[in-house]
Every structure is written in structure tokens, then in C-alpha cells.
Symmetry: C2
Subunit: 377 residues, 2 copies
């Protein structure tokens, strides 16, 4: 077997390992059998991932003598719905998996969130394994146990904290991603630099082309991201404090996703986060929290890596400041009328601001939208 | 305020109290305000409970200055569906309750399970309060944190362990129950005697008429039941062992409910449990585990209290032994092909049998169904 990078997530009885490296998918059967030799497996995946990688996974499980069944859903954010959740739950129950068995979430962030949530509630909680196939899922959504689906009121508003038993991040699988998908995940990689790790951001500024190209730099970037997230999650599993830092760029980003109808042709999650992180830095600068140069440095790097950084880059527009504010206040980071945003005092100096004045955000958004119209004109 | 019986449920940071007594509903506002003076409340109830008791609850909340909104669903087991779950989740999100606010589950077992599950997953977990209005909910489903909905594969197969912050069991509310509903709850009361408390069963044999009539005997029966359940839950919150004893009569009972299509006109949960407990004792006697007289003593008391005790009492019949077995093996208490049943060695001497031979159960059911046909002929 290969010798992957191992990142432990230390959560007492719920501790687990993230394994990172090329060629892990063909080893999945042996690694899962080592964890639970008798377990039966129910794989949840989407049509795209199934077409590309399911045969490799099932061959590996067969070789290890592990019984498995597969549930395939449609790709895309629209599958994080009540309807698909019910379909996956009923599908899992039809496989007759029992409490000691495993659900395998095999796909990107949508599959991880959806299958993880189903695993959290089937028979009031089954074990599950994350095999993330997108960069975004490998560095973010597969780690830390947040699972859930979307409501018409917003993203991830219905879900559970449910930790996986193992995360297998096969970096060679990422070669099959489109450039756009890879870049979207890269936004979350850059996020870890911007949260609290300036040296990592500087490293990315120098090495982002190698990260895109694959090989050791990519593995290193994924490992740094996972270690950063694992540390935060170990200190604050259920987001009573520090974990909220991981939402940098997400409050603006979720609002943009909501106003584009979660239509991945217009905007995918990582793109919303990219624009959202730039907005968070611009808003911080506007409040005098960080230097006026910070936003353009952040935007410069994200744009160089091929990511959108301005609202006017969203095809079809995103509505008015009032509509954005409505989406923001329905997002989950709200307390007693004051808004919570992740703001920054400088490169890698993000912090949780619990008392942001909604009027200040509205004013800022009105200005940004006016700018966007000028650009669009 | 009144001085109710207080039963603590000791679960570390998730500990809470069950208050039992007459007149608690008009005090709900004051008691909830004492717990969380600033909280906003989202009440989930059904049409029947709303018509009878909602005005009392909301007047009490108003008096305590607590903001509240109400979501009303249709009464009956059919509301423990994916569709109603989605409706309640979206309804709760529309009220904009936040993580520190409370969901109030105001109704019988269906409402407690449904609203409790929604509270478990809204924003990945909100606090909630149980105000059970049926005897069954007061002695069983409102205590211990099991929440969930049904799948076409079986009851409660999708759900969460989510403990309430407070249980208010107003015993005077039970005066509005039909005799049939009250008796159905009484099956769960008798269950606590049969599990591990022979003196309580003997007490019920002598005092069941007073329990039905109301007053001190009723409060006492509810308190003994809640204490018994609270003790078991404190020792085994997530049912890795002892808690399974609470399923006495439920494996057979759930199968009967499934085969009557969860149609409450034909069979309600407590009636299924009543027949199921008698079957569990008959099966135990057949296996030579308890005396041949035990089943008729148990059946005698339940029948005296007005409960059904035989399969042939289910209107419209329940199908074949093979169909019952299919429903049983889909129930959640299955491990590696062997069946788990709660069996008994005598009065109040129930135990968990993990290795029951499916063929023995099939044979037993075939015999019972043949008996039922004789009775029916």
C-alpha cells in the first residue's frame, strides 16, 4: 500500500484520520477492511463520479471481500434537497445496512453533505466514510463532520454534526476535475491562508501553478488545509466560537449562491466564496480594520488563479442590495438582529465580528452594486 | 405556581427535568421564561391539540412576555413523513428562530418525534421543549431524546438522539383524551412493570381504575414510568445495551403497525405494543424461558384495562407470518441475520435476547395466525 500523508482529527471517541495522497482509491477496500472487516457498505455517489471512478472503488472493495451496494443521485447542488435526502435515506434502508455498517460518501461536497446527513439520521446514526473526489471536498467539506441539505430559506440550514470514521483523499482523482471545478476548490485552499496562516498564503502566491499542476505541491496544499481545519474543528467541534472563522467569505458567498438560484452554470460554491472573501476584505478595509491595499492583494491572487473576485462577474447579475441583505440575514450566522461576519485586520488575521451593523453592510453592498453596474455599462 | 413531581434526567451537560402534575400548561410561560427569558419560541402542534389547548399555551406565553409562532400539522402517524418533516423544517426556518431559541413540541408522540427531529437538524441543532399531551407521550416518547420519522421501510428509521431542555407533563390535559387514546398510553405504563418492576405491575393490577380516573394515582403512575425510563436513558442514552429493554413488545408491535398501514383507525401504537407484549411473553413461554401462566396473567391485565391482546383483534387482519417476518427483519433491532427480541424470564424480568432464530419466530407466528383464524371462523 502507498504511504499517504496522515492528518489526525482529534475528537475523543470520535477521532479519525484523513489520508491524503495519490492512488488511495484502489486501496480503499484494504483500508476499510482494516477498519471493519465485517462491515457492509452502502456507497452514495452521483452520476458523474460513478461514470469516472465507481468501477475502481467497487473493484477495490470486491478484492477486499467487502459487500457493497450503490445509490446514484443526480450531480449538482440541487441534490441537497429534501426530496433527494428522502430518496437516499430510503435507498440506504433498502440495502438493509445496519448500525455497525458504513455509508460511503463518494463524490464532491454535495455528496459528502447529503450522504453524511443521511448517515447521521438513518437508524439515528450510522458510521460513514468520506471519499472526496473534488478539491473542495478534500480540503473542506469532507473534514469536520458538518453535514446537511439546503432549504428554500438558505444553504445547509437542515443538517447534523456527524463525524466520519475515515477520510480517503486520493489526490490523483483530482486530475479528472475541470479547471473550473479545481479553481473553485482552490478558493477554499486560499481561505486557510487568509484565516490565520499568512506564510501559507505567501507560499500559495508563489506556488499556485504547481498546486494546479498536481504532484507534491498539490498534496502539500491539501495537507496544510486539512491540518488547519482539523485543528479548528478539534478545538470547536460544534461552532460555538473559533470554527466560525471557516465561514470567511461564506456569508456573502451563500447570499450570491442563493440569488443565482444555486445554479452551478452561473456560480459554484467556491466561486461564491472567492467573491465573498474579497468582499469581506473590502468591507474590512472600508471599516478601517485592515489596510486599503489588502483587498486588492487578495483579489489579485484569486484572479491570477482564475477565480471570479467581483459581483459583476456573476453571469445574469445578483439582484439588489436589499435582496442580498435578505439572503444574508436568513443565513445561519445571525444573533439578535446583529450580523456576524468574519472580518480581517490583515493578511491571515481574520476574526469573528459578532456585532456588525446591518445598515453598514447594506451601504457597502449598494456601493459595490453601483460599481458593478458601471463595469457592466 | 403549582408544585409538580420532578423527575430529573441525568445526562451531564444535556440533563433536564420532567415536571408532572395538573395545571402545568397555564404555567408554561413562566416556567420557560425562568429557563430562557429572552428566547423566542416556535410551537409545533397538530390540529386536534391546537383546537383544544393552544389558546391556553399561547396565553401563558404572552403573559410571560415570550414571543411565539405556531406551526400546525395534520394529526396522526402519517405526519411522521418526509413531506411533513420538510414542511415543519421550512416552517421553523420561516419563523427565523435562531440557535438559542426553542422549538416547543406540543402534542402526542407523533408531534414529539416530528418536532424533536426537526429541532435536532434545524441549523444542525436547536433547543426544544416537550409539552406532551397524550399519556403515551408523557410516559414514553417525550422522555429520553429519541426523535424521528417513518420510512416506507419501517417506523422511526430516520431520526436523531436529541434531548429536550424541559418536559412539562400536564396531567389534567389527559382528561381530553378519548378512552382509546388513554388506554393506548396505558400499555406503555404497564410496560415499565413488565420490564423490571414487578411491584409496579402488581400495583397497576390493583389500581388501574384509579389511574384511568385521574388524580393522584394517575400522577403516580406517570411519575414511576418517567423515573424508570429516565434511569434507563441515563445509563444508556444511545441504546448500545440496556435501553433496548424499552422495546418490549415493540418489535411485534411495529410489524403489526406496518401491516395495518399505520392506519390509526385499525391500530394505534399503544395497541400494537399491548398485543406485542403479550406475544413477547407467549414466545418466551414457548421457548421455556418463563412459566406457561405468565402470558395469560399479562394478557388478563391488559384486556381488563380495555386493550387488545390478540392478533385477531386487529380489524381487517394483518397478513401472513411471512409478511410479519419481513416487517420484523426491516425493524431496527437486527444484527447479522439474528433477531433481537426483548424476552422475559418472569414478571418484571425482561432481558435482551440477541440471538433469536428467525425460524422459531416464523413458526410461532404461523401458530398464532392459525389460532387467530380459528377465533375468526
Amino acid at each position: 500500500m502507498s504511504t499517504p500523508i496522515t492528518v489526525p482529527v482529534v475528537l475523543g471517541a470520535r477521532s479519525y484520520e484523513i489520508l491524503i495522497g495519490p492512488g488511495l482509491l484502489p486501496e480503499a477496500g484494504a483500508r476499510i477492511a482494516a477498519l471493519a472487516p465485517q462491515a457492509r457498505l452502502a456507497i452514495v455517489t452521483d452520476e458523474n463520479v460513478a461514470a469516472l471512478h465507481l468501477a475502481t472503488l467497487t473493484a477495490s472493495l470486491d478484492k477486499a471481500g467487502l459487500a457493497h451496494q450503490t445509490i446514484v443521485v443526480k450531480p449538482g447542488e440541487a441534490s441537497k434537497s429534501y426530496a433527494t435526502f428522502a430518496e437516499v435515506c430510503d435507498g440506504l434502508l433498502a440495502t438493509r445496512v445496519e448500525r455497525g455498517d458504513f455509508v460511503i460518501a463518494f463524490g464532491g461536497g454535495v455528496i459528502g453533505d447529503l450522504a453524511g446527513f443521511a448517515a447521521a439520521v438513518i437508524r439515528r446514526g450510522m458510521r460513514f466514510i468520506q471519499i472526496p473526489t473534488s478539491l473542495l471536498a478534500q480540503v473542506d467539506s469532507s473534514v469536520g463532520g458538518k453535514t446537511g441539505i439546503n432549504s428554500r430559506h438558505g444553504k445547509n440550514l437542515v443538517g447534523a454534526f456527524h463525524q466520519p470514521s475515515l477520510v480517503l483523499a486520493d489526490t490523483s482523482v483530482l486530475d479528472t476535475l475541470s479547471k473550473r471545478e479545481f479553481r473553485a476548490g482552490y478558493a477554499e485552499v486560499a481561505k486557510y491562508g487568509l484565516i490565520n496562516d499568512a506564510p501559507f498564503f505567501l507560499w500559495l502566491e508563489r506556488n499556485w501553478r504547481d498546486v494546479m499542476a498536481g504532484g507534491k505541491a498539490r498534496e502539500e496544499a491539501i495537507a496544510v488545509s486539512c491540518r488547519s481545519k482539523a485543528g479548528i474543528v478539534a478545538r470547536d467541534e460544534t461552532e460555538t466560537g473559533e470554527r466560525a472563522l471557516l465561514n470567511l467569505g461564506h456569508t456573502f458567498g451563500h447570499a450570491l449562491e442563493a440569488l443565482t438560484g444555486y445554479n452551478s452554470k452561473r456560480l459554484v460554491h467556491g466561486e461564491g466564496v472567492s467573491i465573498g472573501m474579497v468582499l469581506a476584505h473590502e468591507f474590512s478595509a472600508r471599516l478601517g480594520l485592515c489596510s486599503q491595499e489588502m483587498p486588492s492583494r487578495v483579489a489579485g491572487h484569486l484572479a491570477e488563479a482564475g477565480l471570479p473576485t467581483r459581483i459583476d462577474q456573476v453571469p445574469g447579475g445578483v439582484g439588489t442590495a436589499a435582496e442580498l441583505m435578505n439572503a444574508i440575514t436568513q443565513d445561519k450566522k445571525v444573533k439578535r438582529g446583529k450580523l456576524t461576519f468574519i472580518l480581517t485586520r490583515g493578511l491571515g488575521e481574520s476574526f469573528i465580528a459578532n456585532d456588525v451593523d446591518p445598515a453598514a453592510v447594506t451601504g457597502f453592498l449598494e456601493e459595490k452594486l453601483a460599481d458593478a453596474q458601471k463595469v457592466g455599462a
